[in-house]
């Protein structure tokens, strides 16, 4: 509760140190070379080692260029996020606003069916995807990866959007119906704009899951559709591990997320939970 005093900073700072140290280590390692790594731990740039930007040259266009995978990641993640959030919004809206019946299944059962897909461990479907994609020549293609990630993201997007639409008062849409709107135009013109915070939170969450996903990427891509996580993973080679490259690529890949988090911090948190709370 509202305990005054400085003591509360003790656990906070303790945890902050635990959280921050690995991040600090990652940042300084991105500016190290062989000698600053394999001769024991080096903590402070310019003090106990000489920083170098070699890793950044290699990674941004040099021998270990991530430009290609970065493009693949951006295309796949953006496309899958847009499609999944759109389909998820449609489904969420349908389940929040209409009475549906399919045999014994009502709204609750249908939404449970959709959301429960997320319980399924990805490894269950990845082996099947591998076989089917091989047959359809979709292995290692941007299209194939977008398809896989869309399916992977729809359940969570539906769940989040469903809880948003439940929060929005239905009266505005009812008025729109009287003005002659169709269900789709009421959804598109009224419900969707009203749930903008929810759309943002859902998109960010979906994007970050897809952006960082590894299992599907490692099984289904090899060359033409590799994503950033794969670029990180392959830095461990026969001649040892390129720690500096790993750290540089990791930092590049976290940039969009951190920017989003800082700008949308408050909105993301309230957005994330909106529906589960009220």
């Amino acid at each position: 509760m509202r305990v005054r005093g400085a003591w509360r900073y003790v656990p906070i700072v303790f945890w902050a140190t635990f959280v921050a140290l690995p991040i600090y280590w990652m940042v300084i390692t991105a500016f190290k070379d062989n000698s600053a790594i394999y001769n024991g731990a080096r903590w402070l740039p310019w003090v106990d080692y000489t920083p170098t930007s070699q890793a950044w040259h290699d990674v941004l266009g040099g021998s270990e260029s991530v430009i290609g995978p970065l493009e693949h990641s951006l295309i796949i993640s953006t496309a899958a996020t847009l499609i999944a959030v759109f389909i998820g919004s449609l489904a969420g809206y349908g389940l929040a606003r209409f009475r549906l019946k399919l045999g014994f299944m009502r709204n609750n059962d249908i939404s449970f069916f959709i959301v429960s897909q997320r319980i399924m461990p990805p490894v269950v479907v990845v082996l099947a995807f591998f076989m089917v994609f091989k047959y359809l020549h979709l292995l290692d293609t941007l299209l194939g990866m977008t398809i896989v990630y869309t399916g992977f993201s729809v359940p969570l997007a539906t769940w989040f959007m469903l809880s948003y639409f439940r929060q929005i008062p239905v009266e505005v849409e009812e008025a729109a119906y009287i003005d002659g709107d169709t269900p789709f135009s009421a959804f598109w013109r009224i419900a969707l704009p009203l749930s903008l915070p929810g759309l943002i939170a859902t998109s960010l969450l979906t994007f970050s899951f897809v952006w960082n996903e590894f299992l599907f990427a490692v099984v289904l891509t090899s060359n033409k559709a590799t994503t950033l996580p794969i670029m990180i993973a392959i830095q461990q080679g026969e001649q040892g591990t390129n720690w500096w490259n790993i750290c540089a690529i990791s930092l590049i890949s976290i940039v969009p997320m951190v920017l989003f988090a800082i700008v949308l911090q408050r909105r993301l948190v309230t957005g994330l939970l909106g529906g589960a709370l009220k």
Binding site: M1, R2, W15, A16, F18, L21, P22, I23, I37, Y38, A41, G88, A91, G94, L95, A96, R97, F98, R99, L100, N108, I110, I119, P121, P122, V123, V124, L127, A128, F130, M131, I147, T150, V154, T158, L162, S163, R166, V170, E174, Y177, I178, P183, N212, L215, P229, A233, Q236, T241, I246, S250, S253, I254, A261, Q265, T270, L273, A276, L277, K278
Partner: protein, 315 residues
């Protein structure tokens, strides 16, 4: 204490369960066009691969004979029952989920309570505390491998300068699982923290205010009012985390590769190894389906137990 009137404002988390739409004008229009795309997509991209997996598990598929399915067999499933590798991976996965998710919940809750009220520097800590969950799992796996390196890692050098005994973080079969947990806690406490903090911030102030006017002490308010009101969101947060934790793959793949020995081989990792290193796709599918059955059972059990508990907390 005069606070019960607000408790009804927090409802249980709706994991797909919830109220049917009210009888309004949209409700009796045709809503199927909205839902059909999602259902078709999931049938195609989740249910079909699932069925395909089931078929594979009752057959014998390797990458050599392509899509040809051999005749039906129970061999994979009967092998699974006697496969100590599978049971060891389940034990490790359950250990990781139980210990990891508990720690994440406790630390996340403590930090959320400490940062709930505005304090100087609170915004900074909130951003810092959410960074780990944004990093790619593979990046985190590598990072901890570097930190815990037994020759040139910083943790080792700190232990050395403090004259603490050397710990074989990644090469001892007893310590490596603990290292995995440390990494998992680092990575996922942020999600707990954010969800619980949002839960606290959405809490109605008047109940707490009323109790304070009645003269309730801080710990009493925390125990009697705040924690019960936080129960629904806690149940949801733990559920989400638990389901995701059962599928851990990339982090361990790069931290320990499942070793030393098989001491940190999660079930997903084992299924992957079977499928893509020994190219026994059928047996890999069988393992993954066993994991699915287990996760579904745990999820169902968890949801029904917490539903009863929540009802008790809220009345």
């Amino acid at each position: 204490m005069g606070v019960t009137q607000t408790e009804s404002s927090v409802t249980s988390p709706r994991l797909g369960k919830g109220v049917a739409p009210a009888a309004g004008s949209p409700a009796h229009r045709n809503g199927w066009p909205f839902v059909v795309p999602a259902i078709l997509l999931l049938l195609l991209l989740n249910i079909f691969p699932l069925v395909f997996s089931v078929v594979m598990s009752f057959s014998n598929v390797t990458t050599d004979n392509g899509l040809k399915l051999a005749s039906a067999t129970l061999a994979n499933w009967s092998h699974l029952l006697h496969d100590s590798g599978f049971w060891d991976s389940m034990k490790f996965t359950v250990f990781l989920v139980a210990v990891g998710v508990s720690l994440e919940f406790l630390i996340g809750l403590s930090m959320a309570l400490l940062l709930w009220r505005k304090i100087p520097g609170g915004g900074f800590f909130r951003v810092l505390f959410s960074i780990p969950m944004m990093l790619a799992p593979v990046a985190i796996g590598f990072m901890f491998r570097m930190l815990l390196n037994e020759q040139y890692g910083p943790v080792d050098s700190v232990f050395h300068s403090l004259h603490l005994p050397d710990v074989l973080w990644l090469s001892s079969t007893t310590v490596a699982p603990i290292s995995v947990i440390i990494m998992d806690v680092w990575q996922w406490t942020p999600l707990m923290f954010l969800l619980l903090l949002a839960g606290l911030q959405a809490m109605p102030e008047d109940a707490i205010e009323a109790a304070r006017i009645d003269g309730a002490s801080g710990p009493r308010i925390l125990w009697d009012i705040v924690l019960p009101m936080l129960a629904p969101i806690s149940v949801m947060a733990v559920f989400l985390r638990m389901v995701l934790a059962f599928t851990i793959f990339g982090e361990i793949y790069l931290l320990t590769g499942g070793g030393p020995g098989t001491s940190t081989t999660s079930t997903t990792l084992l299924a992957y190894f079977q499928g893509f290193q020994t190219f026994n796709l059928s047996y890999g599918s069988t393992i993954s389906l066993a994991l699915l059955i287990f996760v579904t059972a745990i999820a169902t059990l968890y949801l029904s137990v917490t539903r009863v508990l929540l009802r008790r907390v809220q009345t």
